[in-house]
Structures are given as C-alpha cells and as structure tokens.
C-alpha cells in the first residue's frame, strides 16, 4: 500500500491527539509493515506496508497506544524532525483507514464504522420500543448504549409486585415502586445512562392510534413482548403496513425467545405471513399450541409471564445487534427470518419466513393489475 496523503489530509493532522483504534490489534511485522487484526478470523483484517520505507509506521503505532499529538512524538524522539512530513502523511493515511482515531471520538461509533462498515450514524436515528417490560427495557438500554439518537418507549403497565420486578428488571430497585409506570421508570433510567432524547408514552401496546403516532415519528420500531399474544402484534403489523415503518418483533414465552423477523413493509413477509407459517410448523403440538394462544388472547392465563433474566438478556442483546446492523445501513440479518431460542431444551432454530402471494394483511396494499391489462 503506497502512503501518499493529500494536502488537505496533512492539514488536518497538525495538533490533534491521536491513538490506535482500540478495536484493532496491530501485529508488527517490521518497522514498515503491520498486520491489522480485529480478531483471529475477522474479515476486516488487512496488511499495511509503507512502500517508501520511511520506518515511521511501526514506531508511531507503538507510541500511540495512548493519545499523543504529533509534536509530542517528535519531541520525545519517536520520530525525528527530519521525518515530520512522512509522519504527517502517515497519520493522515492511518486516519482515513480508521487505524488511528482522534482523541475523544465515540468508540462505539468508531467500531460501527471501522469494523462493520456502517454508513449511517446511530445518533441520527429515532427508534421506538413498544413494551417496557423485562424484555423491552433491556432492548431499550442496549440501544441507548449503542448510541441511538432518540428513543421513545410505550407501555401502560405499572409495577404490581415490586419484589418480582426488582429481580427481573435491570432497572434500579428505587424506581420500581408499586404503582409506578413501566414506561416512565424506563425513561428515567435511560436518561441516566446516555445523552439520547428519551420519551415515554403510557398507552397500551395494542392501541393503534398511539402506535400510529409512534411509527410516524420513528425510523424503526421494536415490538418487545413477554406475552406473545397475537392481538398486539397484529395491531402493530397493520399500522406498520399502513405507514411503511420497518419494525422488529421480539418475544419471550416462558423459556422460549423469538427474535425477529424484521419486517420491511412492501418488501419482506409481514407479521401475518410469519404467524401463519410459525403455526404451520408447530406440528406435533399444534392443537395445544393454538389453544394456548387463544387463552393468551383472552388474557385468562392466570399468572404473569416470567422468563429468567439471563434469557431476556440474550434475546435483548441479539435484537439490539440485529437492529443496529439494519440501522447503520448494513444487511438486515433478521429480514425474513426469526431466531428461536428454546432455553428449556437448549436449542436454537432459525425460521425462514416466505411471503405468501395473497396474504390478507399485506397483499391488499400491493399495487394490483389485472393479468390481461
């Protein structure tokens, strides 16, 4: 690789402090050659060689494990004054390759750009999380930690048994006072861990008008439920199809966690198509499964729906990861696919979801043309 910076690049490197991208590991081959690794098998690994043979590359990177300005490198003798131009050129090149960072850069953002090739900054994205229970609260927190710009949560539930909630939520115990709102508690907590704009709505998760407002003001919606009844998901599906809002379904059901699919209205299968196929594939226990779903829809199951915190953590982590990949402009890894963890059996399944030609939920929204016109 030939290191030849432009004049603009050189100008920009004068007095900033720089350090090696903490997501990268540098393997020193010689003073003029390095291997840049992210992990042993990372596809972003590459070799960098200074064709000019200035012997600056290795010594500079060794010195920049802590933030330093270029003048410090020269004064401390890491690079001689006579090689200042080589140093400036090198640093400009390494910045462009994201091997070096400027001090103070957001390290998560750096990861998303340098390792995942992200094109869209998460700080510019607005996400809504419907459901602020044990699962939704975890997903919301993960998204805040990833650097989402604005987040709105929605749930009308309130704390009933604070001892159970204290065990299953990751929120501070002090917030979980009986009668307090799930959504407001979560919003309060999220404001303490990030700089994102956080809002809370106290509407029921199947309230279509509230969902409509939420979709209209968000780039993407996560619908997280510890109670995977169909009614709320269908309401969300209807609104998303109407407004064209991408959304991700995540649910816990006892020891089962289902992450995905991600729905892109007009392109991928919708929730109805997913449900038809999920029910069809439930052979062997189909009758009892459908009876259970009906009881869930009636709301007479007689107990809360609890899943171990560690199960919810896994589901939330995977959901946030999949959503993040989608939001930064990359591949939607859960498009037309859901991942089902069964922690009771310790199994993981992926379910591919096909589009159905005449789905009653989404087909009427597709442009129709008579086959003889």
């Amino acid at each position: 690789m030939n290191i030849k910076p432009s004049a603009d690049q050189v100008q920009s490197v004068q007095e900033e402090k720089y350090l090696v991208n903490p997501h990268l590991r540098i393997v020193y081959i010689s003073d003029d050659e390095i291997a840049v690794k992210h992990s042993g098998r990372s596809p972003s690994s590459r070799a960098v060689r200074d064709e000019g043979g200035t012997k600056v590359l290795g010594s500079v990177l060794r010195a920049l494990t802590v933030p330093r300005a270029l003048s410090e490198l020269i004064h401390s003798g890491v690079v001689s004054e006579s090689k200042r131009a080589d140093l400036e050129g090198l640093v400009a090149y390494l910045l462009e390759e994201q091997i070096l960072l400027k001090e103070g850069q957001d390290v998560v953002e750096v990861y998303l750009r340098s390792i995942l090739g992200g094109k869209q900054a998460l700080s510019a994205v607005r996400v809504a999380v419907v459901g602020s229970g044990h699962l939704g609260s975890r997903i919301a927190e993960q998204l805040i930690r990833l650097g989402i710009g604005a987040l709105e949560v929605m749930d009308d539930r309130r704390v009933k048994r604070s001892e159970i909630d204290a065990r299953y939520f990751t929120l501070p115990r002090a917030l979980l006072q009986p009668g307090s709102s799930y959504a407001e508690n979560l919003a309060t907590h999220l404001r303490t861990i990030g700089t994102a704009e956080v809002g809370a709505r106290l509407n029921a998760v199947h309230d279509k008008e509230a969902l409509r407002q939420l979709c209209a003001s968000s780039d993407c919606v996560v619908f997280a439920s510890e109670h995977p009844g169909s009614v709320a998901f269908h309401a969300m599906n209807e609104v998303a199809l109407e407004l064209g809002t991408p959304w991700l379904a995540v649910s816990m059901d006892g020891s089962e966690a289902t992450i995905g699919p991600l729905f892109l209205p007009g392109q991928s299968a919708c929730y109805n198509e997913y449900e038809v196929q999920a029910e069809s594939s439930c052979w062997g226990v189909k009758d009892e499964y459908l009876t259970y779903r009906e009881a869930m829809a009636r709301g007479d199951l007689g107990s809360e729906h609890l899943s171990l915190p560690s199960y919810s953590d896994i589901a939330a982590g995977l959901a946030a990861t999949a959503l993040m990949r989608f939001l930064i402009g990359g591949k939607a890894i859960l498009l037309g696919r859901s991942i089902r963890y069964d922690f009771e059996r310790l199994s993981v399944d992926t379910e591919e979801v096909l589009r159905l030609p005449r789905c009653p939920a989404c087909a009427p929204l597709r442009a129709y043309r008579h086959s003889y016109l």
Partner: protein
C-alpha cells in the same frame, strides 16, 4: 376534447374473463386455480417462488451484481471435467464411452458441435446440459470436448417408457427416425451463487439455447411431458438436474412432425 385521453370512456379495455363468484367448480384444475386464486388457501407454488425470489436491497443474502463469479466457476468446470485425451481411450472399446461428432449421423451434429465450442453457446452449457438420444444411445454434450459422452444405452422397455412420457401430445416423438435433444437444467450451479434467483437465470439460459437451436436446426419443441418419467430414463434426480425441454430433429429424409 375529452381530458381523459380516450374518446369513448364507455369502451371496454377488457372482456370479462372471470366467471361469477357464484360459480363454484369443485374439481381442481389450472382454470379453477386461476379463478379462485384470490381466496385460495393454498397459494400457487409458482407465485410463491416468484414472490420469494426477488432481490431485496437489505437482504443478508449477498447477490453478485453480475455473472463474473459464475464465469470463474464455469471456466474451472470446463477446464477440469471430462479432461480426457485420445490416449486415455482404449481404441477397440472407445465407442462404448464416447462417440465423435463425425460419427453422429444427424442434421443436429454440426450445431451440437458448435454448442460445445462456440464461445457464447458453450457458455450456456454451465446451467443447461444437453442430452442427445440417437437411436437407443443416450449421449451428453461436453463443453469444449470434441466427443460426446455415452451416458446410457436404452433397452426396449426404457424406450417405451420414454415415449410414454409424451402421452399428452397428439403425436409422440418418433425416436427411431429422429435425434432428440433434451435440455436439462442444472440449477444449483447458479443457485449456489444467486439463491432462488439463480433458478430464474437457468430457465432464461435454457430459453436462449432453445431459441438458437430452433433458428439453426429444423426441430420440433416439446415443453410439456411427464417430467419425472423423462428424468428417470435420463438418470436425473429431478432436483439437482431435471429436464426442461425436448427438441426433436428428424433424421435426413424424415418428415418434420407438426
């Protein structure tokens, strides 16, 4: 001047082709599938395929922008497969495993040789294999090889089964007085790079080859036959390889079938 762009807005742009919803036909047929498709609880498999083979912008499935990756695999396949030279054959018995194009007494021989060697046509033999039935010998055209490989000798019973696979036609192919060319799709050669989209591409390659065939050789096209029965005679599994079309070329002097 009417603003809608047509003088008589009462003109019908179409005739009604869908019968009344009150007309219920209990016997399933292609026609009823068409009529009842809006309420059919088991959607048509072709529609499902078409709807699910679309390329999506954000799909995690990487679809190559062009066929370059295919061409690399194809070149390797053409270079390595059936890489036999004349010294590899036992002279006295070579005809049991291969025959030369000059031995193929058929009006199609010249074109089949072109298919093996002409760059554009031979390029299509990656997705479409050409099987040739001459007499009772089933042969396979090999890209960039100057011989045809002997796949199988069909006995009387197999010939009968093959003929029976064309039962729904008013006239079956006369295998005795013609050369029959079977175009056989090899789907995963494309699908492993393009997914379901690759299936469409194989069909298009087959169409291109058939078009060239008909332009240059006096052939009768058979598109509908009992696929599984033909596959069985050709020793194809019907999944990795399956026959897509048959082209029947009368031998010199024989009449072209209608």
């Amino acid at each position: 001047m009417p603003e809608i762009g047509i003088y008589d807005s009462s003109l019908r742009l179409e005739e009604t082709v869908i019968p009344s919803p009150n007309s219920v036909d209990l016997a399933r047929s292609i026609g009823t599938d068409y009529v009842n498709r809006f309420s059919n609880s088991t959607p048509n498999v072709a529609e499902i395929f078409h709807l699910n083979s679309k390329v999506l912008r954000r799909s995690p499935i990487e679809v190559p922008p062009d066929r370059e990756v295919l061409y690399q695999a194809r070149d390797w396949f053409y270079r390595e497969s059936y890489g036999l030279s004349e010294e590899d054959f036992v002279p006295e018995h070579a005809d049991k495993v291969r025959i030369l194009y000059q031995q193929l007494e058929s009006p199609a021989a010249g074109f089949l040789h072109e298919c093996a060697f002409e760059p554009r046509l031979s390029g299509l033999l990656h997705s479409v294999n050409i099987f040739v039935l001459k007499g009772n010998t089933l042969l396979k055209v090999l890209p960039r090889r100057d011989f045809l490989w002997v796949e199988r000798n069909l006995d009387a019973e197999l010939m009968q089964r093959l003929s029976g696979a064309f039962d729904q036609h008013s006239s079956r192919p006369d295998f005795a007085s013609s050369t029959t060319v079977f175009l056989v799709g090899s789907f995963w050669r494309y699908m492993k790079f393009f997914g379901a989209r690759g299936y469409r591409m194989v069909l298009m390659d087959c169409g291109e080859l058939a078009h060239e065939f008909e332009a240059r050789v006096n052939a009768v096209r058979y598109e509908n036959f009992f696929d599984a029965e033909v596959d069985e005679v050709l020793l194809l599994d019907g999944v990795e390889h399956s026959v897509l079309m048959a082209l029947v070329i009368p031998n010199k002097g024989a009449e072209v079938m209608p």
